[in-house]
């Protein structure tokens, strides 16, 4: 009997305290900075183009095979505005299939993809979660602005920095420039 009363007192004490639950659609709990929402593509402001070169490493390493990518020659590189020889032409992620594992982010050599904070996927169309390049870039931009994202390897991946470095190299020895551009690196996913 005593223990039952004890339990009763414990619950009664909570009648006078603030509730710990949040009323979800009205009230959103803050998400942590490292939160992994759906993957989105990032935008390189220094060249005015996406970071993604369409190298397909993420496509091959994704455990659910939910991505598609196609590359093309980069027109901006020919104009000398970017160091990327290839650029993404079409990209699609089926967010419905994505399991939010973050493997795509880990294998990307170009800092091009990041787990954004998007996580609410309500919609009316069944194919509504197949997001295209434009949408992915939009979500990526939002993420970049809100979180202050920084590329992990700017010397190689940010067009402005990489081009400046290239120029510096070219001035003393013009011959050295050929081996420099990073766009066609051997990809580590090739073995699989």
């Amino acid at each position: 009997m005593l223990a039952t009363l004890k339990g009763l007192v414990t619950t009664l004490a909570w009648a006078f305290r603030k509730p710990v639950t949040a009323q979800y659609p009205k009230q959103h709990l803050p998400i942590q900075p490292r939160y992994m929402g759906f993957p989105a593509l990032l935008w390189d402001d220094t060249a005015g183009e996406p970071f993604c070169t369409g190298c397909m490493v993420c496509v091959r390493e994704c455990p659910t095979q939910c991505m598609k990518a196609e590359m093309k020659d980069n027109p901006l590189q020919q104009e000398g505005k970017s160091h990327r020889r290839k650029i993404i032409e079409r990209f699609e992620i089926n967010w419905n299939r994505c399991i939010l594992c973050g493997i795509c982010v880990e294998v990307c050599n170009f800092d091009a993809i990041e787990m954004s904070h998007v996580h609410e996927l309500g919609g009316y169309a069944r194919a509504g979660s197949r997001v295209t390049l434009q949408e992915l870039l939009k979500y990526g931009r939002e993420f970049q602005e809100r979180s202050g994202w920084k590329p992990s390897n700017p010397e190689k991946n940010v067009a402005g920095v990489a081009l400046a470095k290239e120029k510096e190299k070219r001035q003393p020895a013009a011959a050295a420039s050929r081996s420099e551009p990073a766009s066609s690196n051997p990809s580590p996913g090739k073995e699989s």
Partner: protein
Amino acid sequence: MTTEKQQETVELLLNMGPQHPATHGVFRMVLWIDGERVVDVEPHIGYLHRGSEKLCEGESYAQIVTLFDRLDYIANFNNELVVCRAAEKLMGVEVPERAQYIRVILCELNRIASHLLFYGTYGLDAGAMTPVLYAFRERERIQNLFEAVSGARMMHNFFRIGGVNEDVPPDFGQRVRRIMGELRRGMEECDRLLSFNEIFLSRTRGIGAIDAETAIDYGLTGPNLRACGVPYDVRKDDPYEVYDRLEFDVPVAEHGDCWDRYWLRVQEMYQSLHIVEQCLEQMPEGPVMAQLRRIARPPKGEVFVHCENPRGDLGVYLVSDGGPKPYRVKVRPPSFCSLMPLKHLMRGCYVADCVVILGSIDIVLGEVDR
């Protein structure tokens, strides 16, 4: 004449599940009952079968970690640990010390989260509606911490072969300490609420008892075995990671009944807090990932690794042919073995006790069916 025939007593066949709130997943039991007594029981499993073991053969080593996340989906970190350790053992990788401590902290917190979930749902099984709310409130603190560390509340994919994905955030130690204080208070509150409640005691004491010898014969491990008085714990008997440097007790009970199994898990939570405390003190600075090639390619060979899951002894048998994908992965799931003595436990009990017994062995169907 006819009325007499209608009144003849026959055994009744009762279907419990697969969609039943008390089976903790999709699990079906066919019960033969005679009045209020259970004559026989037949478990049916496989409703959640996803072929994880087979899927592993088609995925690279980095990808199979995501599959292991989904085996025992209540204790994700513990599952990730065992498959990472299997690959590391095969490759002969030395994991940096800091990474080992991080792993142990996260695994122990996950054990608490898992036991809290057990505590809450077990209350529900026995007819107490309130404890589950308290348990979830406490579990939420741990889940939030996991989100801050790994980016996901469940299915973290945080452990890597050779370490962990990322170092913990700078305020990690502080945060864990705060959470531990809150958890301790919360767990004491939970204790007051349910553990010695008279109704709960009469529902669970002496119900579903199993003796040590039978339990070993059936292959029980973890809390279910320790509740019968066998102090078998992989963390002590075959220490992995840094457990040999940590000081903790292995609680044992003696009767092996439902209440013992419950009480043992409650005590284990306190032990886990104790382990986390020590880890925080001992954790060195340094790298969290071993220097490895980006694509893991263990050499040809086979290895068996087991770890102490919240549910028992989780083993992985891994065969590699030297390629980037495993040749064969076999999982020894503790929940599956816990389900084995079901007939032994349930024969002769009341129908209402079936739920209490099934709840007390704490199975996760994701792991039973794989």
